[in-house]
């Protein structure tokens, strides 16, 4: 039993000092948290609007997104920041605008405005790749007819790194910046990169921005084609289609969220009197050397053990696991086996749930979404429901049920696994 974190590595402790989200179940962290606690799902039938979609397309889309309205929602957002956001992002693609709104919420909460930390000491990690597919697809038909009228802004907007330019200009971020990708594990890959930048002292604070997965009909068709999507048996009851760890799970249900965290060294937070919301103790990525989609027990175990080692903890410290839990039969089964291996005898004592049951699978941003879900559960003292878990594939696991459970947990693993054998896990801890 390791109660205190031993000094496994030099460098500061890394706190989360700000969070922001635009999701299918809330356009603020407070609204998102309330939906989690009440078990409100964002999953609906989707109407095709760009082109042919697989039959029975079901997902958790961000609905009613109004960039100008969301930008102006807080009277205390500094005018220059609002102006900069309007100037840079007013006509930008949806995925950029959603990141801007989530980033400003996180920035606000961290108190980084107007000048909490010098811009040169702030980093930016954009988590996600292929984030402009729907934007590109939407221009394709006109481009084939009249290529000369392609918007010159395409030269910028087709790049995932456009997110770096836009967010850094609006927020005045001038430290290190990058796009970090790892398919469905991109969010955690980004958080791990941000954690390292702060630990290494390269920056004092780092915005990690998980980007909305705005899929084009081609990605929908491809995921459908490989049999990865759920929703067949519950085509007429979309809210029942996403069922992580239930025997009638069929595949993942895509979701959308832009999700941002501000990571910051404890010294920097202390210096400017910022409140930490949680601590990110560690994280790890482990590949299992495959070009395909299959999950792997050993890869997942190595990611979780690596994250614990990085955190200086052993598995006995873990009270809660926010699973990758996508509602995919193979993926859910493999994750349960991996959790059994990592948690050992404590497997039946550790709370387990799957945020994707409510949010859908937010793909690139999922890791950041689920870090936020974990932190709001710490802070509000509940474990959110496992929606549609009627007949668990693993009866010994300590799943929450159809309603939230009051349970003060303080230390958690949050898993994200991606196609191409990318396994990641991070360790989060409540403060005070």
């Amino acid at each position: 039993m390791t109660a205190q974190r031993p000094p496994v590595r030099p460098g500061p402790r890394v706190l989360v000092t700000g969070m922001g989200i635009v999701s299918a179940i809330g356009h603020t962290v407070d609204a998102f948290a309330a939906s989690l606690e009440e078990g409100r799902s964002g999953i609906r039938r989707l109407e095709p609007d760009l082109g042919a979609m697989p039959a029975a397309a079901i997902g958790a889309a961000i609905a009613g997104f109004d960039f100008e309205g969301l930008l102006g929602r807080r009277a205390d957002t500094p005018e220059p920041l609002v102006k900069a956001a309007q100037r840079v992002a007013r006509r930008a693609p949806f995925t950029i605008q959603a990141s801007v709104i989530a980033a400003i919420e996180a920035w606000h909460q961290a108190g980084l405005q107007p000048s909490g930390v010098a811009g040169e000491r702030i980093g930016l990690v954009v988590a996600g790749h292929n984030t402009t597919r729907r934007y590109q697809y939407s221009l394709g038909r006109d481009f084939e007819r009249q290529p000369q009228y392609l918007s010159p802004k395409y030269a910028l907007h087709h790049l995932d790194s456009d997110q770096i330019g836009v967010l850094s200009q609006i927020l005045g971020i001038k430290g290190e910046g990058m796009v970090a990708g790892g398919a469905s594990a991109s969010g955690n890959v980004g958080l791990i990169q941000g954690l390292r930048l702060v630990r290494l002292g390269l920056v004092d604070a780092c915005l990690v921005a998980g980007v909305v997965a705005d899929l084009s009909p081609m990605e929908w068709q491809a995921f459908h084609g490989i049999g990865a999507l759920g929703g067949k048996a519950f085509a007429d009851q979309p809210e029942r289609a996403c069922r992580p760890f239930d025997r009638r799970h069929e595949g993942f249900i895509p979701g959308q969220a832009a999700a941002c965290l501000i990571l910051e060294s404890d010294e920097s937070a202390r210096r400017r009197g910022a409140d930490g919301l949680a601590e990110i103790l560690g994280g790890a990525t482990a590949l299992h050397a495959t070009a395909f989609t299959d999950p792997d027990v050993d890869g997942e175990v190595r990611a979780m053990r690596g994250a614990l080692r990085d955190a200086g903890l052993d598995a006995a410290a873990i009270a809660y696991v926010n699973t990758h839990g996508t509602s995919s039969p193979k993926g859910d089964q493999v994750e349960m086996e991996a959790l059994r291996a990592v948690l050992g005898q404590r497997f039946p004592e550790v709370w387990v749930n799957a945020t994707k049951g409510l949010t859908g699978h937010c793909l690139y941003s999922a890791g950041v979404v689920e870090a936020i879900a974990t932190i709001v559960q710490f802070r509000r003292g509940f474990i959110h429901p496992n929606l549609n878990l009627e007949d668990p594939i693993e009866p010994a696991a300590r799943f929450s049920g159809a309603a939230a459970i009051r349970a003060p947990v303080r230390t958690a693993l949050s898993n994200s696994f991606g196609f191409g054998g990318i396994n990641t896990s991070i360790v989060l801890r409540a403060l005070a």
Binding site: R91, Q146, Q148, Y149, L150, S151, P152, K153, L156
Partner: protein
């Protein structure tokens, strides 16, 4: 060009260009006069190309970008478009 003012095509071209300036730069139409340059109005190089491309599309024109090389203000831009409409 008529000596006493803008020809009708030039005037309507200016209306199209002005509409795209308003859209791309988020300006009030009163801020835009034909003697100003796009840079004066705060446009960067990509904004300028966006305004030119959108205006070409609205006017149904396909003009080589080299034709705009000597343009120094909105009026010059309008004149290039108008000359291709004749």
């Amino acid at each position: 060009m008529e000596a006493w003012g803008m020809s009708v095509p030039k005037n309507s071209v200016f209306t199209v260009v002005k509409g795209n300036i308003v859209k791309v730069l988020d300006l009030n139409p009163d801020q835009i006069s034909i003697d100003k340059s796009l840079s004066d109005l705060g446009a960067n190089s990509v904004d300028r190309m966006e305004i030119v491309t959108c205006s070409m599309e609205d006017l149904g024109l396909d003009i080589p970008l080299m034709s705009f090389a000597k343009v120094s203000n909105i009026e010059g831009l309008v004149e290039v478009f108008a000359s291709h409409l004749r």
